[in-house]
Assembly symmetry: C2
Homo-oligomer: 416 residues x 2
């Protein structure tokens, strides 16, 4: 058998053809991946793991014992972790092949890396999980690990036209993750295929296999209008409404609702929590190497340090009270349909785009997924976002809804 | 087969005999546990999970879908979680039977619950995992979930004479845990038997079974002197040195070292981090129901709110720098031997005792285990603590050392 070796060789060929232009990888472990593939090919069928041979890219904020992990910061250049992050360890134990480390923005905040959007090299791939989304979109790897503190998984998935999954907060262990804001930081996934996403997620959560999905007879969808809709591109909003219509035509019960004021307030306060926690998470770098932080990040840390602890605590209390509004906004078996990003990927690499359509859901800790929804006027991907109020126990139900929506959009001509 | 039902009945009998005196449980699910046991007894052998029939008590800071979870705070009296905490879900999925919720101090801080020490009802069981340690010590349940932010797992285990395990930070998912200080909060275990501890830990970590332990030919032990040793009872220090001698006699390489100044500073700074984070974790309770917090906790939150963010960040930076000292203090295959608590459980229930022998290790995120080490002058348990510098990947090696030490102490007459 040489199936794994052949698959890795095909991916490396693809990387050779496109990496110079795209810049998705900060470290590529060609020899290690091929050696691992050979070892996997030598296994008897009964010895194979749940992810036998699955090639995976790992965002460079997650530790890998055999590759440097430097968070795209000169402060940590050449850093060699003593161990794998727990999710990486689990993926390897299940037979996955870690192909390399993907480019992150500096410490997963806003200062961009060198990665370009595979659909238009003049545009950002989004961030902070820039390399993961771009590598998956370019066919360099079928699955990549991402993280989200604001909108760092969902938004680049939309800009690059791939599946992006931010699970419920706390679903995967975060040991070996460089934290930015621990009460928000959520490890997630970029993938091209749903099956890959579901299988990798189960392994990362420590489950033997994905639970069998159960879809309600008539899917229920709530199109949620947010105060940020006015900041979205008209074509993105139009596509969102076309998507809602396509789901109605496919048999879903679709209603339109407004984000209640309590959740608007939660949304607005995410920034306070993120700044306060980032100032604490990066305290060592701030103390010892402030001059080697980007101006973006240094300013954000200074903002976080300036927040009064009582004011941050008051913000948390308002968030805790306001967050309850999600429980009555949508039903237990209903998914929210909303935008994952303001529109197509912006031109230029200086900014990775806006997280205004992501912050609320990250703050609430609810699961979110980006589904591709065709192309925009500039030929770049558009997407929709599904959000559920459910937590970690119900991934199968959320995925069942997402697959159904994904297929309904594809059937209506709004897919990849 | 009626093995599970019989086992649960035996535990319930034991609880009936001793619970009025000890007060380890805040909620007991007699009917649910028996129904679950009957269902497990009806399973064919091939259908049984890794923890088939294991009865477990759950500290009342971890959510249970079928029992109230109120953190021993009147603010949350009667609270019914929508779902199980992720570790509880995993334990149930592996065939465990959740017998009930064990008494915690208020929000796992210092304000005590009603639990008494099974070895002397006039003494504290320690805390904050008071009910878990007492229930296991009294034979009411073989395993119970605990948590530790300062010394809340290790210290009550020492006071009650049971095994207490605080794994490396981040080893188990914390979804469904009421946080006190998220960068410190660690879910752990109390148990009577090592095998139960190892099996439950593997399931909570999402692993199929405990990894096979590998013990070095000659175990290496570092007896670490700390600045707090002067505050320990002379008999506790004497027992620690007897234990070291017993390990030497059994073949271990034992050396004595002092805690370096960098780690003394880390130890001293734990309190700052814990107060700052507790003020944020309990922001909603502080904002809406301050008058229903204990004076202890309200004072601690006020202290946390008074900490300047820049001062907390500076403390974190000093901690990050100082924490590196653990890497050179002991070897990768060496375990630290130190005290788990100042001595026997103090008289009275007003205080759960001091965490001075625990804070440093919690702050460092390293794995710790309490091993019983005979009795003290008042007839209450004494213990020793093992600590490793290893992280989540090496539990099997740490357990192998701990079992070896446990057996060597028992052979020398210093066991349970």
């Amino acid at each position: 058998m040489s199936g794994c070796v052949e698959a890795i060789r095909a991916l490396l060929d693809r990387i050779d053809a496109r990496e110079d232009a795209i810049g998705a990888w900060v470290h590529l472990d060609r020899d290690g991946a091929l050696a691992r593939a050979r070892a996997l090919d030598a296994l008897a069928p009964a010895e194979r793991g749940a992810l036998h041979g699955m090639a995976i890219g790992v965002k460079d904020v997650l530790d890998t014992v055999d590759m440097p992990t430097a968070f795209n910061s000169p402060i940590h250049a050449g850093r060699r972790p003593a161990r794998d992050a727990e999710v990486v360890r689990r993926l390897r134990a299940a037979g996955a092949i870690i192909l390399g480390k993907t480019v992150t923005t500096e410490f997963a905040f806003t200062h961009p890396g060198r990665t370009r959007n595979p659909h238009d090299l003049a545009c950002t791939p989004g961030g902070s999980s820039s390399g993961s989304a771009a590598a998956v979109a370019a066919g360099m790897v079928p699955v990549a690990l991402a993280t989200q503190t604001g909108g760092s998984t969902i938004r680049p998935a939309a800009f690059c036209g791939v599946l992006g999954y931010k699970p419920a907060f706390g679903r995967y262990p975060t040991a070996g993750l460089k934290h930015l804001a621990p009460s928000l930081d959520t490890i997630g996934l970029h993938a091209r295929a749903f099956d890959d996403l579901a299988r990798a997620s189960a392994v990362m959560a420590g489950e033997a296999a994905p639970a069998r999905p159960v879809l309600p007879r008539r899917p229920r969808v709530a199109l949620v209008r947010t105060p940020h809709d006015g900041a979205a591109e008209p074509q993105a909003l139009a596509r969102l409404h076309e998507a809602a219509q396509a789901l109605r035509s496919a048999g879903a019960a679709v209603r339109t609702i407004d984000l209640p004021p309590a959740l608007v307030e939660v949304d607005a306060l995410q920034h306070v929590i993120m700044a306060a926690e980032a100032a604490q998470s990066l305290a060592a770098e701030w103390a010892s190497a402030r001059d080697r932080l980007s101006a973006n990040l240094a300013g954000f840390i200074a903002e976080g340090l300036a927040h009064d602890a009582a004011a941050v605590a008051a913000a948390r209390a308002r968030i805790a009270a306001g967050a309850r509004a999600i429980d009555t906004l949508v039903g237990d078996d209903e998914v929210i349909l909303t935008l994952p990003a303001p529109g197509e990927a912006p031109r230029g690499l200086a900014s990775t785009g806006s997280a205004v359509f992501n912050r609320l859901w990250t703050m609430l800790g609810v699961p979110c997924i980006t589904l591709p929804a065709g192309r925009g006027a500039r030929g770049l991907p558009l997407g929709v976002q599904l959000v559920a109020r459910r937590d970690a126990g119900d991934e199968a139900g959320f995925f069942a809804h997402a697959r159904w929506v994904h297929e309904a959009l594809a059937a209506a001509g709004h897919g990849h």
